[in-house]
């Protein structure tokens, strides 16, 4: 490929720029792995050891933390609950979000900007600001202490940025593709499903991870709306390690290390879409 940036055969100027860039990216990679390593290592230490020797390897590996957190503190169940709530919410975020992004990004109509701004309004203030009216709403709908309440709130929280980001990407897809499909007899849904969605895949992968992480980590709404221990999610479980004047960092890091695994898996799975550079091929 003529468009690759490689060292081999590069002019001296470009080689220097490339080395600096490589150094930057390598440094950043280091800054990514060290905290990850640090977090996981801390989960094998006692709280006192975490503070006394924060950067050393554990003296005695405390494996019991994982047993305490997973079994005694019931994180197995919390983990499953989180998985259910996040997965269902994200499925709807992607479906309704990409549909709305299509409706906002691929049509021209008078209310378009208004609809777009309505969606965008949803991320201009944190929903936490409206906790009291939201509480009354959920109570009024009879959804207190149900997973549905959390799924709906998570769905609503995920939609605005999904619509915003996806509509930007969808707008930049050339119209010729759509015209060609229309001539082949595709209706609007067909164009959304078979033309626009495949081309938008990298952006969808991005939006998935962008929204799934905060939803997965959110403790506030489940804390307010789920009282039953059988429904509690993983981040709610994590809050029990925070005392008023002391925090059980040892168990907290164990919980956090468990919590990051599904997100890592999801991300590594999603990142395949970036690596393939799939879209460029689709358009050609």
């Amino acid at each position: 490929m003529t468009t690759d940036l490689r060292f081999r055969g590069a002019r001296p100027g470009r080689a220097i720029v490339l080395s600096v860039a490589q150094l930057l990216m390598g440094l950043y990679a280091l800054l990514i792995f060290y905290p990850l390593f640090n977090m996981i290592v801390s989960s094998f230490k006692t709280t006192r050891e975490i503070f006394q020797h924060p950067f050393a390897l554990p003296v005695h590996i405390v494996l019991s933390n994982y047993k305490v957190v997973w079994i005694d503190r019931g994180f197995g169940r919390y983990f499953a609950n989180s998985l259910v709530v996040t997965l269902v919410a994200m499925a709807f975020v992607l479906l309704l979000g990409s549909m709305a992004a299509y409706g906002v990004g691929r049509y021209r109509y008078r209310l378009r900007t208004f609809v777009f701004m309505l969606f965008l309004s949803g991320i201009m203030l944190p929903l936490k600001a409206a906790i009291i009216p939201l509480f009354m709403l959920i109570k009024g709908l009879g959804l207190m202490n149900t997973r549905a309440a959390i799924v709906l709130i998570f769905l609503a929280m995920g939609l605005p940025s999904t619509v915003f980001i996806l509509s930007g990407f969808m707008r930049s897809i050339p119209l010729e593709l759509e015209h060609a499909a229309r001539i082949d007899g595709c209706n609007d849904w067909g164009i959304y499903q078979r033309i626009v969605m495949p081309v938008t895949t990298p952006a969808i992968a991005l939006v998935t991870i962008y929204n799934a992480v905060p939803l997965w980590n959110d403790f506030f709404f489940p804390l307010v709306f789920l009282q039953s221990n059988a429904l509690k999610t993983l981040p709610v479980g994590l809050t029990t390690f925070f005392g008023q004047f002391s925090t059980d960092w040892s168990l907290l890091f164990t919980g956090l290390s468990i919590a990051i695994i599904p997100m890592l898996v999801l991300y590594l799975f999603m990142s395949r879409w970036f690596i393939r550079g799939l879209t460029a091929g689709a358009i050609k």
Partner: protein, 304 residues
Amino acid sequence: MTRVDVRKGLWITLFVLPGLAVVGVFILLPLFVSLFNSLFNWQQLIRGGFVGLDNFRKILLADPYRTRFFNALGNNLKWFIVTMLVQNSIGLLFGYLLSRKVAAGGFYKRIFFIPVLFSIVAVGFLWGLYLKPNGLVNAFLKLVGLPGWTHAWLGEEKIATFSVIVVNIWRWVGFPSLVFLAAIDSLPGECFEAAYLDGAREWTTFWKIVIPLIVPAITVITVLTIIGSLNVFEQVYTMTGLDGPPNYSTDTIGTLFYRTAFGSVDSGNPQIGIGSAIGVVIYLLTFVASIGSIVATRSREVEL
């Protein structure tokens, strides 16, 4: 209306309505109810009489609210400027390099988003460890012979805000990188090939061809940066504190809003009316700034 218009209208409704309904009921409705509170006087948690814009007058014109509000807003401005200049420039550079298949690019693509996966609690705690007086950063500075550069990174009034911003950049720089990467990747390859055949230099290709074509992605990142900068809350809360310590130097309108509306455990009680008024101002500022940047960048958009 013609039949074509009706059909088009129906399709738009089908696509947009389900999402809009959910956002409308579960976000916009409670949010507006809560912003409506700003027009009332509040006795603790009970709504009192209608006071019009008095709460707004207080936060914009009357001390002690005014001082706190503009101090916080100034910090939000720092967040915006530094994030735009540093985070998004690095993101653009990384995204461009990755799109051009630099060495180890596949590996970087797989890891650059990992910091976002961390819970904010872990970020706050771990970076707190690195930035504390006897933490890793100062240890590193001493190691390389710069003991004079050591600081209480999160405890000095002049530095603390920037320390929190830098940690936030560490956390988020992968996001613009990948957005720009996705945007550049979705450009037709012919653009580049034509430029190369013409013998255009890398720098020229980047500025004259890539940038104009990824304006929609730039808009997305700019608007998200505006929204993010005006809504800074968790980062400050977990790294320095709800009161924006030391001495309000890391305070933002987000932390000011939260502790005014809900009260700070260690120091104060809720003032719902004034808190909601701060919320309205945050909302309006964000709205105007977002629209402004959308309009400003849309005029530069190039259709393919």
